[in-house]
């Protein structure tokens, strides 16, 4: 009977360890457990060009992640990209003249949305739209402009 107990104990430990590892991996490597738990509100922004922006990319303000990109769609009437993002309800005092730009993290890092606050006394609310936006910098366009400028001189 003692033998059986060892087996049962070992099996239990092993299975527990396995599931704990899986849980740990999901928790630690992905942003399931993100800063976005709890209440959020949705904000829209239109960009001429979203570049390499991906779903779930962070939305930051002063370098702190306050939200996530939840949708990127192409508006066929206005011919621009409509980005929806969810921002934690903790940050409900963002001026409505805030501007949003698509920035790049590091040299080969992914892109994220950076918000720079304005000075308005009214704040962004659910489904409101950020009016001032700055598109992603596309390297080819930059070089193109640079060359045109060189040619002009």
């Amino acid at each position: 009977m003692k033998q059986t107990r060892v087996v049962e104990f070992g099996t239990g430990m092993f299975v527990l360890l396995g599931f704990a590892s899986l849980f740990f991996l999901i928790l630690k490597t992905t942003d399931v457990q993100s800063d976005l738990r709890g209440e959020t509100y949705q904000v829209l922004a239109r960009f001429e060009n979203v570049g390499d922006l991906k779903l779930r990319a962070p939305v930051t303000m002063a370098g702190v992640t306050i939200g996530r990109v939840t949708g990127i769609t192409f508006d066929s009437e206005r011919l621009d990209a409509q980005v929806t993002m969810r921002i934690s309800a903790n940050f409900d005092r963002i001026p409505d003249d805030t501007d949003a730009s698509i920035l790049t993290a590091g040299l080969i890092g992914g892109q994220y949305i950076g918000l720079t606050p304005g000075f308005s006394e009214t704040y962004l609310a659910d489904n409101s739209e950020i009016q001032i936006t700055q598109s992603a910098l596309v390297l080819e366009n930059l070089i193109g402009k640079f060359l045109v400028k060189l040619g002009g001189e």
Binding site: V7, T11, V15, L17, G18, F19, S21, K28, T29, G109
Partner: protein, 257 residues
């Protein structure tokens, strides 16, 4: 020339026959599995211990070193672009999606697959399976199915443990030795690793678990009932498992990407 074609045709037919037999064997096992899972869980638990818990040592050691190698190599490569902060992301993605499931499955085939094949093969060689049949006990239900299920349940768990240990190994090298920022190591992976990536690895490890386990019990069950037959069954288990795991890995990756 004619002879060569004949030989090739013979080999091909032989392969198809074995392959078909294995599929039928798998179907039969799967048909008995739900009932076994419900009514004979003790048998399965015993196999999880013998197959899974007993493979822990090799998984822990190999996982740690694989992680440390990934840490070194990854740091070296990323440092050339000044992107050391991305080490965590690089290691996590390559582990979760590819290296973890595949390496664990290969180690599993070597440690547990051979043990399965040898154990069942020995039961065949020493008439234990025949004896069961004569006691009106179906050896497939009593022996093969619990061993198979033990393998299928163990491999995904072993894979998760392997991944965790490997990540820890990379952390030791990257953070403690190379001086990558600890916070960056973890926080950088979050935006890039999706739950779907973790799940891809889990799906892979389940498929590999089914493949390696069914191969091992099939080879053991159909082993030629001699000492040589058993040793041949274990060798075949490792070789075929390795090939099958890599082929399946390619197929699943192609489908999921």
């Amino acid at each position: 020339m004619n002879r060569l074609i004949q030989d090739l045709w013979y080999a091909f037919r032989n392969f198809l026959e074995t392959f078909g037999a294995m599929q039928l064997f798998l179907l039969r096992i799967l048909a008995y599995s739900p009932k076994t899972l419900l009514t004979r869980f003790r048998l399965i638990a015993h196999e999880i211990y013998a197959i899974g818990a007993m493979s822990l040592v090799i998984i822990l050691i190999c996982g740690l070193f694989v992680g440390m190698v990934l840490g070194l190599q990854g740091y070296d490569t990323l440092a050339q672009f000044g992107a050391e902060e991305g080490l965590g992301t690089a290691v996590a993605l390559s582990l979760l999606k590819e290296l973890g499931p595949v390496l664990t499955a290969l180690l599993f085939a070597g440690r547990a697959g051979t043990a399965l094949a040898a154990e069942i093969g020995l039961m065949r060689a020493t008439d234990q399976l025949s004896a069961m049949e004569l006691m009106a006990v179906d050896p497939i239900r009593r022996v093969v199915v619990p061993h198979f299920l033990g393998g299928v349940i163990s491999l995904p768990l072993l894979t998760a443990i392997f991944n965790m240990v490997a990540l820890f190994g990379a952390y030791i090298i990257g953070v403690s030795l190379m001086g990558v920022d600890s916070g960056a190591f973890w926080s950088q992976m979050r935006p890039y690793v999706e739950v779907a990536d973790v799940m891809e690895g889990v799906v892979k490890s389940i498929v590999f678990g089914v493949a390696v386990s069914v191969l091992a019990v099939f080879e053991g069950y159909n082993a030629y009932p001699t000492a040589e037959g058993v040793s041949r069954a274990t060798t075949r288990t490792v070789v075929i498992s390795a090939i099958v795991v890599l082929i399946l890995d390619f197929m699943i990756t192609a489908i999921l990407i």
